[in-house]
Subunit: 191 residues, 2 copies
DNA sequence: GGCGAGGTATACAGATCAGTATACTTGTGA
DNA sequence: TCACAAGTATACTGATCTGTATACCTCGCC
């Protein structure tokens, strides 16, 4: 909404520091003083740029969502086969997981911010619904049967893989295999 | 370890209040003063019983894990068919979700407590590994092919369903259906 | 009887939190 | 040139946090 305000160099540094700290240490556990110090900026500047900690949290999630969607869309573009495109978000998940071993930032944010009116809830919900819609569109293009059901199943697989990431389990490869199997069993030329 | 200490009536009230507050509002956001007030107890008593907030958090997760495992095992016992037993944890998930709409307490706890040496990490990891082992044992008993692979897939499905719970999506029924389909396709009398 | 465990009541220490106040500096563009 | 936007520097407010200190109460049990 008010994100049309141009971002200054200090604002970008603040946002970068907030992304790092909020994701690795948790939102409630990180204070604005620490973010200001890490970005080489005074607290006054932080408040001039973002208004409040809640707004900074919303900006953090929005920016993270933007980067993640770009990665997913790039992974889809990198595939040529329509069936491979459906499971391309799992390719992106492998890349993404390499530098993000603390699970899903949006699920984690919801865990710390129980108030449903907090902007984080809408951002997180939008992200998941966006991925579900993407799965459905790709499945439809690939000619899969029941693309809606398939999309929900792929979303659950995706989220389950992310959720188990901080645990001492390797679920990524198995989930990607299962996702491909589900898509192939629903694709028209595999039955 | 030191959980052999007998629990007093005040201790039980404290633990009950902590369970409710930690789960619904988040661990970092809830102070010990609030827990003491809610359980009708002095803060001094809380510290006499649990030593520190971190120990109380560990006790909260341990108790929650105990109740959840009992529910899962009861759901398995309620089924007679060996194939139905494999997907029984998804029956339990339906019951459990009715009163727990804030996702998985263990994933949420890891989101707020990034330090891997915190007891919450071991408790959460143990819970997931326990469920995975249970899936594998039930699948083996049911005569499923590749019970290890199947168990990991069922675990990811289970966690994905829990993780998407706070979102405006209904994933439970679809996941349970997929779980049953996976088990049936691996069971000996269905191929 | 008395003693000790468990609990109450209240106050406090020391740290940290989000957010504000005041005064100064610096670069840029009209 | 000069006005303005962006940022620096530092101090502060009031609230809240975990954890402790001190003094008292009240049972049950040896």
């Amino acid at each position: 909404m008010e994100n049309t305000r141009p971002m200054t160099a200090a604002g970008r540094r603040i946002l970068a520091a907030a992304e790092e700290l909020f994701y690795t240490r948790g939102i409630t556990a990180v204070g604005v003083d620490l973010i200001a110090e890490r970005s080489g900026v005074t607290k006054r500047t932080l408040y001039n740029r973002f208004g409040s900690k809640d707004h900074l949290v919303a900006a953090y999630l929005t920016e993270r969502d933007r980067r993640w969607r770009a990665l997913v869309l790039a992974a889809v573009d990198a595939r040529t086969d329509p069936v491979d495109k459906v499971t391309a978000p799992f390719d992106a998940l492998r890349t993404w997981s390499a530098g993000n071993t603390r699970g899903c930032a949006f699920i984690n944010a919801l865990a710390e911010l129980p108030d449903p009116s907090h902007p984080a809830h809408r951002i997180a919900a939008d992200q998941k619904l966006w991925l579900r819609t993407l799965f459905e569109e790709l499945a439809t293009t690939a000619g899969c049967r029941e693309p809606t059901t398939l999309a929900t199943r792929l979303l659950v697989l995706h989220e389950g893989t992310l959720a188990t990431q901080p645990l001492p389990l390797d679920t990524l490869s198995g989930s990607a295999d299962l996702a491909r199997a589900l898509v192939r069993s629903g694709a028209p030329d595999t039955r």
